[in-house]
Subunit: 245 residues, 2 copies
Amino acid sequence: MSTIRGARERARIEVTAAIKDEARKQLAEEGAPKLSLRAVARELGMVSSALYRYFPSRDDLLTALIVDAFDAIGAAAEQAAAEQARTEPAAEEQASAEVPPAERWVAVACAVREWALAHPHEYALIYGSPVPGYIAPMDTVGPAARVGLVLIDIVRGAYRAGDLTLPPLADGLRADAERMAADFAEGVPPEAVAALVAAWAQLFGLISFELFGQFNRVVEEREALFRQAAGELARSVGLRAAGTA
Amino acid sequence: MSTIRGARERARIEVTAAIKDEARKQLAEEGAPKLSLRAVARELGMVSSALYRYFPSRDDLLTALIVDAFDAIGAAAEQAAAEQARTEPAAEEQASAEVPPAERWVAVACAVREWALAHPHEYALIYGSPVPGYIAPMDTVGPAARVGLVLIDIVRGAYRAGDLTLPPLADGLRADAERMAADFAEGVPPEAVAALVAAWAQLFGLISFELFGQFNRVVEEREALFRQAAGELARSVGLRAAGTA
DNA sequence: GTCTATAGGCGGATAGAC
DNA sequence: GTCTATCCGCCTATAGAC
């Protein structure tokens, strides 16, 4: 009995995954607004009504794809941060074996960019134009926060180590920055939080321009430009420049 | 005869405008990938086949909307730059009545943001996810460049006035930056061009995050954050901070 | 869970009359 | 330039049998 139930559950998981995979393929071909359960079913050799046992509506399928995409890009960022934290244990001869925060920042930024380049349509789904008529349920907010939290962690670490130069903060922003710090960046001073949020948006601006074609016929050396700009952004939130040890 | 032809031409222009207006409305409701000539015709009380006399295909209509949007946001940027150039002729008591470049930069950035907030769906059309299957014809590249050229002009002016602090430039970027300077930013040093292109992308990153919902439940004081970040970006391309005269 | 069948729509594009 | 008619395709969603 439990094996049967186990088999059924496994089958259900596999079919669900197949549906999402096919849906992701179609995102690329038609875009999120045109994602159609029927086309997915056809491609899978199923009948459209069968899909409704897995996703009660088109929007639920969309939500699943969005959550998966946020989780994937968030995981990429977290992994890059973790790797940088314990990299080069032998090669490094300094007293502190820790990688400087600015370098971790750039590594995370590059990991995010690389995920985006490898999954352009999923990136467009979460950071591109909103899908008209679709309203994101609360399920998406946790996954959506992951990349930002990685960046916050890096800055918090630098601050605790006394390694953060506070950037200037406009008067009109202080109250909001204090609220943000309390809401999701405890232990980071408001000056850094405001700069951090701006840097976060700007990082994705670079990626979006590259991915959405604004750099066509304009920028050739995109990775080099991105690295330079990401490093500048690290500096703008108060992290010490990588070369300045 | 000429009045008749004039009347016909006027009618054609009016109908064309009506079609584009209705199409813009539908952009908001369904998104660019779902824009449908048939729905536009229905709403206008025309029959679908009649639209083909004005736009030979759906993609041609889309192109017209894209060109219009780029032209509108470009005009907004140009106007902000022009107004700043000759503003406060009486109030200013300095010997040089010119507005400092960093201030003009911020004014242009704010104008672009305001246009975007006022026309979110047209903004999404040109700076959001690419429309799958649509390939932009060459007609769009001129209009698409206008905002960037305004920013370039500001920096060039500052450079000529000896008012530009060259930012650092990574080795891997120099050749590309020199090419860019030759291609579309003559008279601006490569260091500034590289920083400029990055700042351009980052500016739109701030706007896109605000417009596409990434700041929901995160940032409240969006204009203040934008102004601060835009000012920082001006500084990052080498313009002297506004308060430093 | 999957099937057939069905309701009640929608789309792009063209031909040929007026 | 606009009309009707047409081709041929597409969609979400549900009901009810197996």
